[in-house]
């Protein structure tokens, strides 16, 4: 296990270095410099500048420095724990990152809180009785919810719950401080898709286990069905879904972009979206590094869970 962690950590560092270099290279083009100038001065403002004044302006903003020099500078700062400053928002990146990650963590917490019990229960119920009416209802519902794009769910939920019934606010900007009601729409949007996905995976794992030799033997031995399921089937069937839940953490980081942007929830996804659109390079760098770390750690957790839960691997 320790070897695995060390190997993953080294790999993660290597990837982080490559990715940050790539990002710097991407944002070192004339096209990007012009974009930055337009963002700051506007189309009408930049049109008043002569060629020399334009270059002077770039110089003043430090955009003309050779990119290796800027990269080295940034690396040095990061090594000292300074993640830089957001150009767009004029805030330390660390602050921005902390707040947005906290907001996304809250969202993710509630997603998992709803996801795990609902999806596992439905998946197990469906997989236990493969081919029954209950199974068919659950399976059909699951495949349909995983087929609706989240943008459509988001708008539809807004129409019904926010503007139609007026139960919750249409947007989750939380201008009056934190409260749960504005969280409902993003939460439901995420849950609807994720539950469908996890139900399908759990059901597949469960049917596989139910068809296996040792369950059949147990049933033949005359053990009551609920004992067979609780004692033998569940544990084996849950290996895959549980590892998937950890991987889902990483998937959430990508999914939340759409949901957070649509509902204007001040989380990690929206920060990432804003930074990528504005070309806020320092924010983007930090956010990407966090995303990579989350990806690697969730992979590790999922591996660990697999090792821990799966008797065949554990006892080897």
């Amino acid at each position: 296990m320790r070897n695995l962690v060390v190997r993953r950590a080294i790999q993660m560092l290597l990837i982080m270095l490559t990715v940050s270099l790539l990002l710097f290279a991407i944002f070192d083009s004339d096209q990007f410099r012009e974009k930055a100038a337009v963002a700051e001065l506007g189309g009408f403002g930049i049109a008043t500048l002569s060629a020399d004044d334009y270059h002077e302006w770039l110089q003043k903003k430090g955009l003309n420095e050779p990119f290796l020099a800027r990269y080295a500078q940034w690396l040095k700062a990061v090594a000292h724990g300074d993640l830089g400053r957001s150009v767009e928002k004029d805030v330390a990146v660390a602050t921005l990152l902390k707040e947005s990650l906290a907001n996304t963590a809250i969202l993710a917490f509630f997603v998992l809180l709803g996801l795990i019990p609902i999806a596992l229960t439905l998946g197990v119920l469906a997989g236990m009785n493969e081919g029954s009416r209950l199974d068919r209802v659950i399976s059909v519902a699951a495949v349909i919810t995983t087929s609706i794009p989240q943008i459509a769910t988001a708008v539809l939920l807004t129409v019904i719950l926010a503007l139609g019934l007026g139960w919750v606010p249409a947007k989750s900007a939380m201008t009056d401080g934190w409260s749960f009601r504005p969280l409902v729409l993003p939460l439901l949007t995420l849950l609807l898709y994720d539950i469908g996905y996890l139900v399908r995976m759990t059901r597949a794992a469960m049917t596989e286990v139910m068809a296996s030799q040792y369950i059949r033997t147990a049933v033949l031995k005359g053990l009551p069905p609920w004992r067979v399921i609780m004692k033998h089937a569940l544990r084996n069937a849950l290996v895959v879904p549980v590892t998937l839940i950890f991987l889902e953490l990483n998937g959430l980081l990508s999914q939340v972009v759409v949901v957070e942007v649509f509902f204007q929830y001040a989380g990690f996804g929206r920060m990432l979206f804003d930074a990528a659109n504005f070309g806020d390079i320092q924010v983007l760098q930090a956010a990407t590094l966090v995303a990579i770390a989350v990806a690697v750690v969730s992979q590790l957790l999922s591996d660990a869970a697999y090792t821990f839960l799966n008797p065949r691997v554990r006892f080897k």
Partner: protein
């Protein structure tokens, strides 16, 4: 048989892609271009239903997908209103205004929702299928290289794949589209960047597994070129899991394309497009009485994705039974 299916696919995809991507350049040819595709879709549907007949789920999926394919190739010949022409705004479904019947209503700018929906499937299908295919060619190519050649090739390709995979998917899309500009062709690149590494991993695993099999060894002793062996011997023998993945991936790509348009990053208006229709509805049609503007494209795009998902499910089910 295989050659026949390939021919049918080409007959559908080539004219459709040409029609969507280069319509202005086609000039007088454009109106006739899609005619041969109509029988091709019907024929393809027949073949697909036969080969998936053991799975009801898959047949249903095939029906959904083929329905949209058929709409995509017949849209220019159906008696539809001009999808971009504003006639009368906010007409409810089934309503008649200015002597025009709006079966599915008209949108906030007075355009016919039915014809926008039917025309809209062209863009999603063409760019979705093209992007997925390109991702497959690239991903499978690199996967074979990594899996079959191994060694430093494997190390390098796998690392590059890991680098791409470590970006959150949305970030990758935004970066590519902001950097290269927002167009269908760049969506292909963006989708390739995000999907190819996953495909590469799958193919690499399959290739590693298959490398030691007899038929490869036999080919090697015949003295065939490794690249030839990879394309002709390896790939067809690992196609089962790939078909399932491809169907799921088509679904993801469809979601991605509509989502990108929704975020204002993907295909640009004015041509009708499901993502765009949802976006416009999200601005102006937030009331229950206007929600048909939202529900129609939402149901359309969901049914297409559902079709892809069901084909994947059905195929998996059949492969488990064998």
């Amino acid at each position: 048989m295989k050659a026949g299916i390939a021919l049918l696919l080409a007959l559908i995809w080539l004219p459709l892609a040409g029609y969507v991507m280069f319509r202005p350049a086609l000039g007088a040819l454009a109106p006739y271009l899609l005619l041969p595709s109509i029988p091709a879709v019907i024929l393809l549907y027949g073949i697909a239903v036969r080969s998936w007949r053991e799975s009801r789920v898959a047949v249903f999926g095939v029906t959904l997908v083929c329905f949209w394919l058929l709409m995509a190739v017949t849209a220019p010949y159906l008696p539809l209103l001009d999808p971009n022409k504003p006639i009368a705004p906010f007409v409810a479904p089934g309503g008649i205004k200015h002597g025009v019947l709006f079966l599915l209503g008209s949108d906030m700018r007075g355009r016919d929702v039915l014809s926008r929906t039917l025309w809209g499937c062209q863009r999603v299908l063409v760019w979705g299928i093209t992007a997925t295919s390109v991702a497959y060619v690239v991903g499978a190519g690199f996967g074979l290289i990594a899996g079959y050649l191994g060694g430093w090739w494997d190390e390098f390709v796998s690392f590059a794949g890991n680098v791409l995979l470590s970006f959150p998917v949305m970030l990758l899309f935004i970066l590519v589209l902001n950097l290269l500009g927002q167009s269908g062709f760049n969506i292909i690149i963006a989708v390739t960047c995000s999907s190819a590494p996953v495909i590469m991993r799958i193919v690499r695993g399959l290739a590693l597994d298959a490398r030691s099999r007899d038929y490869i060894l036999a080919a090697q002793t015949r003295g065939e070129h490794p690249l030839w062996i990879m394309w002709v011997e390896l790939l067809p023998n690992v196609r089962g899991p790939l078909i399932i993945d491809a169907c799921l991936r088509l679904g993801y790509t469809t979601v991605a394309i509509t989502t990108l348009t929704f975020l204002g990053l993907g295909l640009q208006p004015p041509d009708p497009d499901w993502g765009l229709m949802i976006k416009e509805a999200a601005t102006a049609a937030l009331l229950w009485k206007y929600s048909y503007m939202l529900i129609v494209p939402a149901v359309s795009v969901s049914s297409l994705i559902l079709g892809f998902n069901l084909i994947a499910d059905g195929t998996r089910e059949m492969s488990l039974r064998d």
